[in-house]
């Protein structure tokens, strides 16, 4: 059965899973109605914590943006696996006989799409509220893509690792945040270069973000099947 699998069918299966998750999201509107407003209020609160009048916000905007995205990622990942817990959905998905790697790619894609939408809104929010200039839009977009793929891959991996466990809500941030610390670091530096600095300086950071995304997507495709079976 598995011998018949081609790459094409893996991508098709992944698209099915992603479509399913996104349809659920389109109906339930949790990302749109709760996670997105959460990200915006975080952006707003940073202005209370820091001094909005002396250019502090403009200088630290890239870091604040990615902190907000990181926090939203935690919520999105928790949500992506919460939808599998009701009405035996996980067993249903298991019994479809879909390849573990395909389910991983599908769920990660769904998370990535939601994060990307969130980043667009937060990005506009940061530009408007913090008064940020965009020097290199190409670098900013590439950084966002690479970082989002990395975040979605690690998030899906740790999401299934903690799925079904007692205390998963508190365990997930502890597991995920140290692992994605390099993404936070790389994406913030690349954004600094792409927004107010010299866009050409961002390449090493883009490289590290890409390596991170590739490594964790590969691990996810390989390991997800085993973890998915164990998730009680």
């Amino acid at each position: 059965m598995t011998g018949e699998r081609t790459e094409v069918s893996i991508w098709r299966e992944a698209a099915l899973v992603a479509g399913k998750d996104l349809r659920i999201e389109a109906r339930a509107r949790v990302a749109l109605g709760q996670i997105l407003p959460f990200g915006l209020i975080v952006i707003l609160l940073f202005a209370f914590a820091l001094d909005p009048d002396r250019g502090v916000l403009t200088r630290v905007a890239p870091g604040l943006f990615w902190i907000a995205v990181l926090l939203a990622t935690l919520l999105a990942v928790g949500r992506a696996f919460a939808i599998e817990t009701h009405h035996g959905a996980r067993d249903g998905l298991r019994m479809t006989g879909l390849d573990g790697g395909a389910i991983f790619l599908g769920k990660a894609t769904a998370i990535a799409v939601q994060l990307a939408a969130l980043e667009v809104v937060l990005g506009v929010g940061v530009i408007v509220l913090y008064g940020v200039d965009v020097n290199g839009i190409g670098v900013v977009v590439l950084t966002a893509v690479a970082a989002t793929v990395g975040l979605a891959a690690t998030g899906t991996l740790y999401g299934v690792l903690a799925a079904g466990l007692r205390l998963r809500e508190t365990l997930l941030p502890l597991l995920l945040l140290p692992v994605i610390a390099p993404v936070m670091l790389g994406a913030t530096r690349a954004f600094e270069d792409g927004l107010g600095g010299v866009p050409g300086d961002a390449w090493p950071w883009l490289g590290i973000l890409t390596v991170f995304a590739v490594i964790y997507t590969t691990i996810g495709v390989m390991a997800f099947g085993a973890l998915w079976e164990e998730a009680a």
Binding site: L167, L174, L175, L185, W205, I219, E229, A232
Partner: protein, 258 residues
Amino acid sequence: MSEAERDDAGLPRDELLAPMLRRVIGVVTIVSLVALVLFGLWGAPTDEVQGDAQRVMYLHVPSAWLAYLAFFVTAAASALFLWRRTRAEVWDRLAGASAELGVMFTGLALVLGSIWGRPVWGVWWAWDARLVSTALLFFLFLGYCALRRIPAADPVGGAKRNAIAALIAFVDVPIVHFSVEWWRTLHQQATVFNPQLNPQIHGVMGLTLWLGTIAFTLLYVYLLDRRYRLAVLEDGRADRELERAIAERISTSRGVVA
């Protein structure tokens, strides 16, 4: 004993080290630790630049070394567990025991580094690449230990999950290292690591540093064996409690039938 039957790889399971070997290691550890205290506090001369605060280094450097060794052992044992041909409970327990010790030594290295940094650098903490990487390493494996503490419904599945988690965390170590290194060196002024602070090391000082490394490594081996033993005992207790619960259920249901 039912435990012995499940041993596929034919490895010793109840004990990591033979009792005799463990006792020898225990005694040598104590002797070397006493020697370390004598040399570290009195035998070694005072550092010309750093003063006596440098004596904290005799503990800090071995702790940091052990942190890396312990996490490497965790990763290697996890990989051996995941590889079907070498899969055995011994690797899972070894990985868990080593990670717990690794977290302790990493935490110790951070605290000792901070205590050393205050008199020598003038600050408790500096955003130095090595410090930041070590702090992230601490949290990476702290999370792994927290994950391990949650019991799984299926022991083999849980062990597999733990092994994968250890490897995911371990893969992150070089990425963290390089990104932090770039962050602190690409556009940053002179670091706190002044070459003048590292003059020629006096012979006795180097010797003491080696003594500390050996003593801590022996202590690690001894504690690893003990932590492994505790894991075996606790798994056995969980099994017995389950058996007892099943036996009680059977006897009560029989009573109902009678």
